[in-house]
Every structure is written in C-alpha cells, then in structure tokens.
C-alpha cells in the first residue's frame, strides 16, 4: 500500500475519510481535506479574534498582524481596482487569507495542502471567472464585449485579435487554478522526495538535508507568493470587468 510507504511523494495528497457522510447518494464525507479547510478557517479566525480582542489605538503584535494583512489587501484592491472595488473587499480578503493559510498549514510535515487539489483551486477560479463575467456585463452591458477588441487595433486585425482575446479570457480560470495547484503539488512533492533522500542516504543524508532547508525556505516564499498572485490576479480580472476600456 502506498500509505505504508514513508517516502511516497504523492501520498501526502491522498484524501482519506474521517467521517463518512452521504447526502442524497452524494459522498460529502468529512475528509482530511475538509479538516485542513477547517484548520485554515480556524487559523484565520484565531488571528483576527486575538488580533481584535483588544482594539487599541496603539496596536499590539497580533493586532498589528491583522491590520497589516487588512491594509495589504485593501491597498492591493485600491491600487488595482480603485474605489469601485470596495464592495468586493470582503471576498478578496477572505480569498487571500484562506489560500494563504491553506498554503502555509500545508508546509507543516504530516499535514494536508488543501490548495494542492485542482478541484479546490478551480472552484475558486471558476467562481471568480463567473462572478467577474457577470459583474462585467451588469456594469457595462454589452459594452463589456469591448475587452475582446482592445481599442487602437486596426480593423483588419480584428479576426485575428478577437479569437485570441476570447481564448485568453476563457483560459483565465484554468491558468489561475492550475498555477496555484501545480505550485503546491510540485513544491510539496519535491520536499517529500528530498526528505526521502535523507532517509535513504543515511549518513550522507546531510547533503539533501541542506538542500531541503533551502527548498523549504523557497516553498515558504512560494506559499505566500502564490496566495498573493492568486489574489492580485483576481483584482486584475475584477478591474477588467469594471473598466473594460483599459
């Protein structure tokens, strides 16, 4: 069994049931994936509940941390979308915190990385894609179709540009979801493989250990960076929906 093999790099992505729940013939069991979603939720809540427990003018460390994340996302949204983006701030903020904590919790050994599953990232990306498209049409009417034909392009190039734009638009959710998922999957697999080398090589294991430490630092960076990229791309898509002329 793969589960018994300590150095199987894919084992960490396997989903195992914790509580078997069936609803109308559909399997919605509480799995390790669900558990770590709850952990990400709990971590976010803990950060803000502790950070906001003592609202003071001069913040303590936890309050500082929660305000930093708030300002970070608020500034990102303001820079990318402008004041019209305010309504979407709760979603963007939640999105960032959820992905951020999923990525980070996944870095702890023996945990599960929720965002390493394409269906999860695709659910987010799909939701964002559908929402952005709806927002685009609601705010701009049929004028939203202009995003497929950027201004300043000669008309004879239209048959070439418009299909490219449409394809690039439709591929947004795929690139968005695959980017995050693949980063998590590849990073965690490599970590596990090199961790396996340490065990396999015995005394010589210090060489992959050094590499593993460096790699782990890189993965930590990637965990934060991918959450940031996912969020900022969402902001950019939102901006395209609100201002299709740019």
């Amino acid at each position: 069994m793969a589960a018994d093999n300590p150095i199987d790099p894919i084992h960490q992505f396997e989903i195992s049931k914790i509580a078997d729940i069936q609803l109308g013939g559909i399997d919605i069991s509480f799995t390790n994936s669900s558990l770590f979603m709850v952990f990400a939720l709990a971590a976010t809540m803990a950060l803000f509940v502790i950070g906001l427990s003592k609202k003071s003018i001069i913040p303590n460390r936890m309050q500082m941390l929660s305000e930093l994340s708030y300002n970070f996302i608020a500034n990102m949204l303001r820079d990318q979308v402008g004041d019209q983006g305010r309504a979407y701030f709760p979603f963007i903020f939640s999105l960032f915190m959820f992905i951020f904590f999923c990525n980070f919790i996944g870095l702890i050994p023996y945990t599960f990385t929720v965002t390493s599953h394409l269906i999860v990232t695709f659910a987010f990306a799909g939701l964002i894609f559908v929402a952005v498209t709806i927002i685009g049409f609601v705010k701009n009417g049929l004028g939203y179709l202009r995003i497929f034909y950027p201004s300043g392009i000669p008309i004879f190039l239209a048959p070439l540009i418009v299909p490219i734009e449409i394809i690039s638009y439709l591929s947004k959710p795929i690139s968005l979801s695959v980017r995050l998922c693949a980063n998590m999957l590849a990073g965690h697999s490599i970590l596990k493989i090199f961790a396996g080398f340490i065990v396999m090589l015995g005394f010589l294991g210090f060489a992959p250990l050094v590499f593993l430490v460096v790699l782990y630092a890189l993965e930590t960076l990637i965990a934060a960076l991918q959450a940031y990229i996912f969020t900022i791309l969402t902001c950019i898509y939102l901006n395209d929906a609100l201002h299709p002329d740019h």
Binding site: M1, A2, A3, N5, I7, D8, P9, I10, H11, F13, E14, I15, I21, L23, I26, D27, I28, S29, F30, T31, S33, S34, M37, V38, A40, L41, T44, M45, F48, L52, K55, I57, Q63, S66, E67, Y70, N71, F89, P90, F91, F93, S94, M97, F98, S116, H117, L118, I119, V120, A123, C181, L185, I193, G196, F197, M200, L201, L204, A207, P208
Partner: protein, 183 residues
C-alpha cells in the same frame, strides 16, 4: 550531486509504482473524481463561514479601528497645529507688548527728562528773577541809602557850616546860600 541523481533514479520509479498500486483509480489523487463533491461541499461551507466572519466581524471592526486611529492622529495633528498657532500668536502678542512697553518706557523716560529739564529751567529762571529782583531791590536800597546819606551829609554839612559860620560871623547864611556854595 551524482549520488543524489543516482538515488533519485533508483527511488523514483519505485515510489510512483507504489503510488499507482495503492490507488484505486490510477494516477494522482487530484484526479480522483469521487472526492470532488466532498471537497467542494466542505470548501463551500468553510469559505462561506470565513466570508461571513470577514464581512460581518473582521472588516467592520478593523476598519473602525483603523479609521479611529486615523481620526485620532489627524485630530491630534490638528490640535497640535492649533496649539502651535496659539503659541505663535501669544509669542507675537508678547513681542508686541514688549515692543510697546519699551516704547512707552522710552517715552516716559524722554518725557520725564524733558519735564525735569523744564523744571530745572523754570527753577533757574525763577531764581534768576529772584536774584535779579533782589539785586535791583538792593541797588534801589543802596541808592535810597545813598540819597539819604547824601541828604544827611548835606544836612550835616549845612549844620556844620552853619555852626562854623555862626562862630565867626553873626550873619547866618541860609541853606540856599550854603548849597549854592557847596555845589
């Protein structure tokens, strides 16, 4: 590094073989469609809770705190500015008062100097007048005394002349005759 590469080549196929063996549906666990409904279901639940938490709790409170701090800071800066203006005003007023006071004191000094000089001048004049009047008075007195003395001398002379003459001659000359002779 060569050792690492060898080790990897050695292990990798074994691992993937194990993985494939362990899986009911071969391949990555990510491709196991059977787990999708559960993942989506729990994702919706957890993310909705997170969204609600953020929307209803975190953002209003954090926003309020940050707003409050911004207000407090801007208020404090305003207060500081006001106090600064006030202080500048007070300093200005103080300087003005100082200037006016020094001017006033200068005036007072000048005035009192002038008054003193005037008074001195007046006293001088008064004294001079007094002295002059005294002098003229004394001169008058002296003159009067002179006149008086002259008359007395004359009278005495007359008397003396009369006495002398009367001793030698019987005819006593009149005062007019003596005066004529004396002059």
């Amino acid at each position: 590094m060569k050792i690492l590469l060898k080790a990897f080549l050695l292990i990798a196929p074994i691992n993937f073989a194990y993985a494939a063996e362990g899986q009911k549906s071969a391949g990555l666990p990510q491709m196991d469609i059977a787990t999708f409904p559960s993942q989506l279901f729990w994702l919706v639940i957890t993310f909705s809770l997170l969204y609600l938490f953020m929307w209803k709790f975190v953002i209003p409170r954090l926003g309020a705190t940050i707003e409050e701090r911004r207000d407090k800071i801007s208020n404090d800066i305003n207060d500081a500015d006001n106090l600064n203006t006030e202080a500048t005003d007070i300093l200005k007023k103080y300087d003005e008062q100082l200037a006016s006071a020094s001017q006033e004191s200068n005036e007072i000094i000048t005035n009192s100097k002038k008054a003193m000089l005037d008074h001195l001048e007046m006293l001088k004049k008064e004294n001079e007048e007094k002295v002059n009047s005294l002098i003229s008075e004394s001169q008058a007195k002296i003159k009067a005394q002179e006149e008086k003395s002259k008359i007395e001398i004359r009278n005495a002379t007359l008397d003396t002349v009369k006495a002398i003459v009367s001793r030698y001659i019987e005819n006593i000359p009149s005062d007019e005759e003596i005066n004529k002779k004396l002059n």
